[in-house]
C-alpha cells in the first residue's frame, strides 16, 4: 500500500479491479478480511473497513456465517462509475500536460491513434 490515500480505499479499489477485470465473477466469494490483511500485510480492521464500504455500496453482499460475495450486476455498475471518472482521472491530466508542452489537438489525436496501433490494441 503505497499511495497517499487511506488504505481501506485502496483495498476496496483492488477488489473492484478484480471484479472489473473478471477475476472475481458475480456471486463469487471474496477473500475474508483476515486473508486480505495477511496478504497485504495490513491491519484486519482496515481491511474490514474497505470490504464494508463495498457492502454498503452494494458491490458485495454478506451471507451470515459464510462470507462476502460479489453482488449481481456489480461489474456493470462499477464499469459505469469508472467511466464517469475517466475524464477527470485520465483525460484532464493528459490535456494539462499537453497544453504545457504545446501539443495541439491534431498532434495529440495522432499520438493516441499511432500508440494504439503500435501496441496492437486499437481502440476502434
Amino acid at each position: 500500500m503505497d499511495d497517499d490515500r487511506p488504505i481501506f480505499l485502496q483495498i476496496a479499489e483492488l477488489i473492484e479491479n478484480s471484479i472489473i477485470d473478471g477475476s472475481l465473477v458475480e456471486e463469487a466469494q471474496v477473500p475474508s478480511t483476515s486473508e486480505l490483511a495477511a496478504f497485504h500485510r495490513i491491519n484486519p480492521a482496515t481491511a474490514a473497513k474497505g470490504v464494508n464500504q463495498l457492502v454498503s455500496e452494494g458491490t458485495l453482499y454478506k451471507r451470515r456465517g459464510i462470507g462476502m460475495f460479489v453482488a449481481g450486476g456489480a461489474r456493470a455498475r462499477l464499469r459505469e462509475r469508472r467511466r464517469e471518472r475517466f475524464t477527470e482521472q485520465y483525460v484532464e491530466p493528459l490535456l494539462a500536460e499537453a497544453r504545457k508542452l504545446g501539443i495541439g489537438h491534431d498532434e495529440l489525436m495522432k499520438m493516441i491513434d499511432s500508440f494504439g496501433a503500435v501496441v496492437g490494441r486499437d481502440l476502434g
Binding site: 497517499d4 490515500r5 487511506p6 500485510r41 495490513i42 491491519n43 480492521a45 482496515t46 494539462a96
Partner: protein, 301 residues
C-alpha cells in the same frame, strides 16, 4: 469503544525532569496501537505505569477497570515485553515458557514452540547464552504466545534481522485475526509497521502529540516541490512544517489534506505533490524546532 486501559492526566517526574506531562488517553479492546516517539520521549515510562511497574507522580491509570499496581487479577491479563528482558541465569528457553504458562491465562504452548522453531530458538539453550537477536526472538515469542488481552512490545526487536521482523509482523497479524486483543507496539521502525497499526499514539517530550487512526494520518501532510513563488502560493494559508531550498527550487512539507482543490491548485501552479509517509510525518512533528528553521540550513551553505 470498550476501553481496556485509560490514563487521566498522568504526569511522571524524576527529580526536576518531567518524563510524562499530563497524558490522557484510552486503549480500546481489539486494536493494534503504534506507540511512537523519540528516545527519551516517555514511551517506556508510560508502559511501565500502565503495567504497574512504576507509579505516576499524579494522575490516574486504570487497566481492566482497576489500578494495575500489585493487582494479580489485572496483571494476568497484561504482558509487557521489554527491550531487555532479564531471566534467572539458570533458565533455558523451555524454563521461560514454563514460567509464562503459569503467568498468562491464555498462554498457548504449542504456538510458543511453533514460534521458537520459526525463529530457530533452541528450547534447551540457556537464556544467558542466547545472542542479542535470539533474546529478542524469545521476547516476541513470549509476547505473542501469551495472548494477553493487553500486550505491550517495547522496541522488541533489537538485533532481529529483517526476515525475523517480517516473521514477527506476519505471525502477529495472523494470530491477532484469530485471537483479537489490544497490542501496543513501541517502535522506531515506523515504515515497517505503518500498515499494521490501526491507531497511532505519538509522544514527544512527555506530551501526547497524536492519538489518531493510522489511516487518517496518511496524506495528513504533503511535500510540495516547485519554484519558490509557486510553492509560496501553494503554501499560503497552510501550516508549513519544513522547508528546503536548492537554487530556485523549494521543497516544503505542508500540513493539511490533499483535497481536489489543493490538487487543482498545485497543478495550476506547477507544484509537484508527494504524500508524506507516517515516518516522515513523525520526524517532522518531533524534530526540535531549532533544527527545522530554514535559516540554519541556508546559513550553513
Amino acid at each position: 469503544m470498550t476501553a481496556v486501559a485509560t490514563a487521566h492526566g498522568v504526569t511522571k517526574r524524576f527529580g526536576d525532569v518531567t518524563a510524562l506531562d499530563d497524558v490522557s488517553f484510552a486503549l480500546a479492546e481489539h486494536t493494534i496501537y503504534g506507540l511512537l516517539g523519540r528516545n527519551g520521549a516517555g514511551k517506556t515510562t508510560l508502559m511501565q505505569i500502565l503495567t504497574g511497574q512504576a507509579f505516576a507522580s499524579s494522575g490516574k491509570v486504570s487497566v481492566f477497570d482497576a489500578p494495575p499496581v500489585e493487582n494479580p487479577a489485572v496483571l494476568s491479563k497484561v504482558c509487557f515485553v521489554r527491550e531487555s528482558q532479564r531471566y534467572p541465569h539458570v533458565y533455558t528457553v523451555r524454563h521461560v515458557f514454563r514460567t509464562a504458562r503459569r503467568l498468562f491465562a491464555n498462554w498457548d504452548d504449542t504456538f510458543a514452540h511453533g514460534l521458537a522453531a520459526d525463529f530457530q530458538l533452541p528450547a534447551g539453550r540457556l537464556v544467558s547464552r542466547l545472542s542479542r537477536g535470539m533474546l529478542s526472538a524469545l521476547g516476541v515469542t513470549v509476547g505473542l504466545a501469551a495472548r494477553a488481552p493487553l500486550t505491550f512490545f517495547d522496541e522488541p526487536y533489537l538485533g532481529l534481522d529483517p526476515v525475523a521482523r517480517q516473521l514477527f509482523y506476519d505471525r502477529l497479524l495472523a494470530d491477532y485475526a484469530g485471537h483479537p486483543r489490544t497490542v501496543v507496539l513501541s517502535t522506531h521502525l515506523i515504515d515497517e509497521v505503518s500498515d499494521l497499526v490501526e491507531r497511532v499514539l505519538l509522544i514527544d517530550r512527555g506530551r501526547l502529540l497524536l492519538d489518531e487512526d493510522a489511516d487518517d494520518l496518511r496524506g495528513r501532510a504533503v511535500v510540495a516541490t516547485g519554484r519558490a513563488e509557486a510553492v509560496d502560493g501553494f503554501a499560503a494559508g497552510r501550516t508549513e512544517l519544513h522547508r528546503e531550498r536548492l537554487s530556485g527550487l523549494v521543497r516544503s512539507t505542508i500540513l493539511g489534506g490533499l483535497g481536489p482543490h489543493a490538487k487543482a491548485l498545485a497543478q495550476e501552479l506547477n507544484v509537484e505533490l508527494e504524500p508524506l509517509s507516517l515516518q516522515q510525518l513523525v520526524v517532522r512533528l518531533t524534530v526540535p524546532p531549532t533544527t527545522t528553521a530554514p535559516t540554519d540550513r541556508e546559513a550553513a551553505r
